[in-house]
Symmetry: C2
Subunit: 343 residues, 2 copies
DNA sequence: CTGAAAGCGCTTACAG
DNA sequence: CTGAAAGCGCTTACAG
């Protein structure tokens, strides 16, 4: 006993209610199978003594823990990595999962070696996790593929993975990027540049695709010098914008593939003595809190942040509850354009 | 069997290694008690078959789960509540806890009723949690007091709680506020105002205390009209600053008790056509990411964000490992002043 | 509708 | 140093 709280076991409760432990168990797991009278009686006694089934014992017996592992690699290979809206995702996940009776276990896997191909799978087995959600950190992690291949229900955020019971949720990056370019064009921009995310990341690559697609749709030429690769951070946006401003024929509109980079880009423009949006219009991506706070407000493509959590929870529970080895199709969340001061 | 992964039990391993299950168990929990030869042999076989002890069974047998509950009430009574640096705290906690062998379980307690005085305690019992960390959300939650009183090891962030095995970690809010006022004074400000946090919150009240203390130390009069209460959000900072600017004798320096409010205050000053820091100097609190990003950069009192996680983990594990009913003293993290453009 | 019993995968006195 | 056995708190066929 580690704390002073009296802990009532199913055996205690059975004795107090004068029934067998099997009956008590049924009252909680299969209520329809026990007579109304005994059921109510047991429930009453249970409430009086504050009975709580021990989840470890339950998990041991059923192989189901009602716990979902959250893989969110905070310091492996990329110490400074920050998710643009982790808090929103966590809230969405936690809420949606708890409505379905699941808890979230933050898997601490920081001190592992690179060669360790099944850290995650091991953790899943050890803790009898029912499923896993994986938050992409932009690095290729072989341990994730091992997990996905294992048949453990698994949903990934912003990073396609394949496996018998694996799916992912992502924003409509292509569509979002297209509407950004379209908006820039509609307000008169004719030389539209982009500062991309790292193109090895999925969102980075897709937003660039969208940029090109919309250019084509608008009959605007694609000019490689108008495309500079950023890093999703402020510094990359700043540096990227500097390069664009140095061009002999500078752009009058820029689609910046992330809001934090957009803040950097904005700063570069201002420092160059140019006006936003008059000289250069700017549209970001994400709609992080910061976007609304930086004057004059960054026009941006908003992602459905809470939607990530809800969609992930739904897909996960669907796979967990299904006997089949089949995964729901990827969820693609729509984006919306939020007009503010920069475009 | 919920997934296709072969799961080796201690029994399987014992058979394969040709020893008893007791010996296998000892190899993992009490290695020094088994002969080197058998130990190495068992370890070798274990590695070959990828043996993983089942944590649920282990918890059932030992009453120790190596899981810490995280109480972070996201939507109870205050839907829009956001922590200024939750992500940093989570990273710090997760890292420090994992070094000590613990995992973090996000307790989902959203759909409870107000009258439910022991949601947390129940969750702790159900899941055999070894301890709990509680992130303050500014509301008084009776369920927390019940938990603290129960004897479950418990550390609270930024909110004093008392109980046999309870402590808390907080920043030196008084000291931080004092150094802010001192800095303002040092750069020449003589009419120093403050925009406080909600004074019913601990950090709000303490930072106001610090403001008053430093005023007194500097022999500056305390003038109630120079104190306006904010809400820790941008809007409160903006509104508070508007009121201060309307004063017949407006302040030349303002200590704003949170960075997000400081951004709002900065905006109000700019809109009024005044210059920062020339007309009004500004110092915030927290050092959130935003503070560095908003031109000209907000001078602020930085909190040791990672320190919260580390200190909480240390205190928690200390209480868990101790047989006594005694809690380590509260941790008060030092603050540092970060000079940027506003003061 | 209900109970007795086996089993989930571990740990830990108790003997030897 | 090692093994046989009881026990942790549940669930779930199997009988009745």
């Amino acid at each position: 006993m580690r704390y002073r709280v009296a802990v009532t076991t199913i055996r205690d409760l059975a004795r107090l209610a004068d029934v067998s432990v099997a009956t008590v168990s049924r009252v909680f797991n299969n209520p329809e199978v026990v007579s109304q009278e005994t059921r109510e009686h047991v429930l009453r006694v249970a409430a009086r003594v504050g009975y709580q089934p021990n989840e470890s014992a339950r998990t041991l017996a059923t192989k189901k823990s009602y716990m979902i592992g959250l893989i969110w690699d905070t310091d492996h290979r990329r110490p400074g990595w920050r998710h643009p809206f982790l808090q929103e995702i966590l809230i969405g996940l936690k809420t949606a999962l708890s409505e379905r009776g699941y808890h979230l276990l933050l898997l601490a896997t920081s001190e592992r070696e690179d060669s360790d191909k099944d850290v995650y799978l091991r953790a899943v087995k050890r803790h009898n996790l029912d499923g896993v959600v994986f938050i992409d950190n932009g690095t290729r992690d072989p341990a994730l593929d091992v997990l996905a291949a294992s048949g453990v229900p698994c949903v990934s955020l912003d990073r396609p993975v394949s496996g018998p019971r694996t799916t992912y949720v992502t924003s409509d990056n292509v569509g979002g990027a297209r509407s950004a370019v379209a908006r820039l064009h509609a307000r008169g921009c004719r030389t539209i540049a982009t500062i991309t995310g790292p193109v090895r990341t999925r969102p980075g690559a897709e937003r660039l695709d969208g940029y090109r697609a919309e250019l084509a749709a608008l009959d605007l030429p694609y000019r490689p010098e108008l495309v500079v690769e950023g890093d999703f951070y402020l510094a990359g946006g700043y540096a990227g914008m500097r390069r664009l401003l140095d061009l002999p024929h500078r752009p009058d509109g820029v689609f910046v593939a992330g809001d934090e980079m957009a803040v950097g880009a904005l700063r570069a423009i201002t420092e160059a003595g140019l006006a936003v949006p008059e000289d250069v219009a700017l549209i970001g991506f994400d709609d992080i809190e910061l976007a609304a706070l930086v004057p004059p407000g960054i026009t941006t493509i908003a992602q459905d942040k809470a939607g990530f959590g809800t969609a992930a929870a739904t897909a996960l529970v669907e796979m967990i509850d299904s006997a089949e080895d089949e995964a729901p199709p990827p969820t693609v969340l729509p984006t919306t354009v939020v007009l503010r001061g920069t475009a």
